[in-house]
Amino acid sequence: MALTRDFKETVAARVQGDPAFAQALLDEAVTLFFNGEPDTAKLILRDLVNATVGFESLAKDIHKPAKSLHRMLSKAGNPTMSNISAIFAAIKRALHVEIRTSVVMA
């Protein structure tokens, strides 16, 4: 019997069953991206892609090889601005949400 389970599985199940959680995760990814934590943001986006559209479907959607997308959203990945923008857009569509940002005084 397995001793452990990857927490990613629990996260994916909750993304699929709880739209508010999916939305909150995307919100975190956007905030992290704009606040100096792009590496953490990428890994949140990876969670969301895995639990929603999947890498194969995303690859077709944005005309990039799935292998490249996996690499982009890995710890060492370095997606271009265009690719990151396209990934956010695909996740937004999958979750049926809009992203609105505002700049506030620190």
């Binding site: 019997m1 389970r5 990857d6 927490f7 909750r14 939305q23 975190e28 992290l32 953490t40």
Partner: protein
């Protein structure tokens, strides 16, 4: 290879960490997920109660460390 956060499964097959995670509201659960990702990248963030397993996959085989994180604040 970086560390992974894995849930400890008890003999009855249950994950107490997953059970606790399910009780959190959406925003808190998202914060926990962010914290686990930060942990996997090397940060130590004892922010919540519950039990999780930090697995160091760089070692030979898999080393399982059960950690009980205490709520801060």
């Amino acid at each position: 290879m970086s560390d992974q956060v894995r849930e400890l499964l008890h003999p009855d097959g249950k994950s107490h960490f997953a059970d606790w995670f399910a009780t959190l509201d959406a925003m808190a659960a998202a914060k926990v997920r962010v914290a686990t990702i930060r942990m996997e990248q090397g940060a130590i963030c004892p922010m919540w109660s519950g039990s999780a397993v930090l697995v160091n996959t760089r070692l030979t085989g898999v080393r399982v460390i059960e950690s009980i994180w205490q709520r801060t604040g």
